[in-house]
Subunit: 233 residues, 2 copies
Amino acid sequence: MSDKNAVVLLSGGLDSATTLGLARARGFACHCLSLDYGQRHRVELEAAARVAASLGASAQRTVRLDLAQFGGSALTDTAIAVPIGGPGPGIPVTYVPARNTIMLSLALAWAEVLGATDIFVGVNAVDYSGYPDCRPEYLRAFEAMANLATRAAVEGHKLSVHAPLIAMSKAEIIRSGNALGIDYAMTVSCYQPDATGRACAVCDSCRLRRAGFADAAVADPTRYRDHSPGAAV
Amino acid sequence: MSDKNAVVLLSGGLDSATTLGLARARGFACHCLSLDYGQRHRVELEAAARVAASLGASAQRTVRLDLAQFGGSALTDTAIAVPIGGPGPGIPVTYVPARNTIMLSLALAWAEVLGATDIFVGVNAVDYSGYPDCRPEYLRAFEAMANLATRAAVEGHKLSVHAPLIAMSKAEIIRSGNALGIDYAMTVSCYQPDATGRACAVCDSCRLRRAGFADAAVADPTRYRDHSPGAAV
């Protein structure tokens, strides 16, 4: 096993937990970065701490940055409702402007200070929700920019942005995490969980997650707050 | 004059003040973004507010983000001394890992919410201090990445990153600002000013600024705290 440092973006959801598990399985010493950006689903930050500890991360930091002051997303502006009717056409209102760019930029800063040349991010282009900053071409462009941005790059240390889930379906993600022994009960995917982390079952993120467990034929350990028929997918 | 919105990164220094002046002269309604990142020269944030008001900015916001928690720079870690002996070879210790990438990412977020497709940044590749994220090729790569990152980009609104100072000498910057009527006494360039904003005269930033006023044959309005011969360039 290598001791090579990596920075892993860790939201506390299913995808980033699986990404951390995959990075650990490849022998990286993982420094997990979470962002407290004013999201309404802040209990995911507690989930991130649980996941980091459970999967043997070397460090975990939560950076505070108030993206709610810019607004423009249902995830930061409580005046914009989280859609619960299932995915529609186009980019959903849960898109947070430039969020992945900001998070990857913070990861880049920490990586440079650590002397790390590997960043892991759990974005996914198959079951993703139509977010522009989850596409492979975006990640390649970020990597190209990062390799011109830093002292490390100038000194010849090439930075790699790894997105191991990019081409996986949600079911494939869940199966690979299961094989690594990840307990998904620790994770929170819901955009509007209650204060104890129980999921709504009907936002886009819950729908993708539920369908993923069903497709993977894996029992869904998610705690849902509403088991009425109306809450079903 | 157009009412087109732009986001302008405004540090409170000479370069970003001139950039704001140039953006205003081109008719942009300027939304100025400053970053409180734990820098030791925090009085520059007060300067940013003065500059924004003086130059007719439409808005000014200061985003708080603790980059000191990552360390790795003399500007955020008081255990690393600010060099005062004049520029040396290589990238100086005042380089802040990924700072411009983080600031441009925040500008990108605000621009998208505003519906703005223009970002102005006061980086300069001539008299710059050897920072990798002040190079034209870096800015082009950021722009390319930004044009894949956002909902606005997907919907066909091309984002432009403007760096009007990129090829100007410090003297040219000062002369163009003078022509716009900018009062540089408002600005703070020093990396280690005192609490009232008086400059040290001997850090790299002060040296570049002083030389620029001398080369431009413009009286230097900077308030220095030490007029002893040892403080001279």
